[in-house]
């Protein structure tokens, strides 16, 4: 459910439009009534809808939204995998990314249209979930872009000063090699199957 005030605004909007429906003839006669009509049938519904849509988009970036589809459940569980080398588990368990937007933080490109692309892909996923054939093996559309990792790690001291990174730094920045070449377990689904999970006490 969306925040209470968004729901209240929608209820107010519906009630107001209902009242306008029954009072159009009287309202159309007076200047004040005409202004109320303009506000009640154009400005307010559009404003409420825009706010609602904005909250909707915000909510659709949340981890719980992504994991509300059952096929994503193993990937959600993999955030708790007891594996210190699994990329998603390390980021989630060490709070390296916001837990409320875990999926979106790594799976939305940070380019100009990254958010739009992510939302369009999400739309496609919802369509497939409800009306399409869910693939047996879920895979990315493209190889994972290291630019998404570098968006955060880029010039962080720990990343730059890690000895193993030194020989590949330039290649990583140029996109000639991938972070996943070495960090090759993104989601440890085997640990999920084996119930090898970690949870803070």
């Amino acid at each position: 459910m969306l925040p209470g005030y968004v729901v209240v605004a929608l209820v107010v909007g519906v009630v107001l439009v209902g009242l306008i429906y029954f009072n159009v003839p009287q309202m159309a006669l007076r200047t004040g009534g005409r202004i109320t009509l303009l506000i009640g049938l154009v400005a307010l519904p559009l404003l409420i809808s825009t706010v609602n849509l904005g909250f909707g988009f915000h909510q659709s970036s949340r981890t719980e939204f992504c994991l509300s589809c059952h096929e994503m459940r193993p990937y959600g569980m993999s955030l708790f995998a007891n594996n210190r080398t699994a990329v998603s588990a390390v980021h989630y368990q060490n709070r390296l990314i916001d837990r409320d937007t875990t999926c979106y933080s790594c799976h939305a490109d940070y380019a100009m249209f990254g958010d739009v692309t992510a939302k369009m892909n999400g739309l496609r996923h919802v369509w497939v979930h409800y009306f399409g054939k869910i693939p047996e093996k879920i895979a990315l559309y493209h190889p994972y872009a290291s630019a998404n990792c570098l968006h955060c790690h880029d010039d962080s001291r720990k990343f730059v000063e890690t000895a193993a990174h030194a020989p590949v730094l330039d290649a990583l920045y140029d996109g000639k090699t991938s972070c996943l070449g070495c960090h090759n377990v993104a989601h440890d689904l085997k640990a999920v199957e084996a119930h090898k999970l970690w949870q803070a006490k």
Binding site: V17, Y21, A28, L37, L38, L46, S49, S68, L123
Partner: protein, 71 residues
Amino acid sequence: MASEMTDHAPPAMRRAAVVSGIGLGVQLAASLHWTPLTFILSAAVGLPLVLAGALMFLLAVLRIMKTKGAF
């Protein structure tokens, strides 16, 4: 002038109110039962209905202004 408003405007404006009301209603229902599907219904059905209602109202106003010789 007043009779012109009451004779022609209300039906079109009422239609606009109905369309807009349904659009807001769809969004309200979606906000109460929030799932990926209802979010898409809200964005793909609710919002366009509100836009259509606003457009219908503005067209009705334009028609009235035209009959009154505003332009």
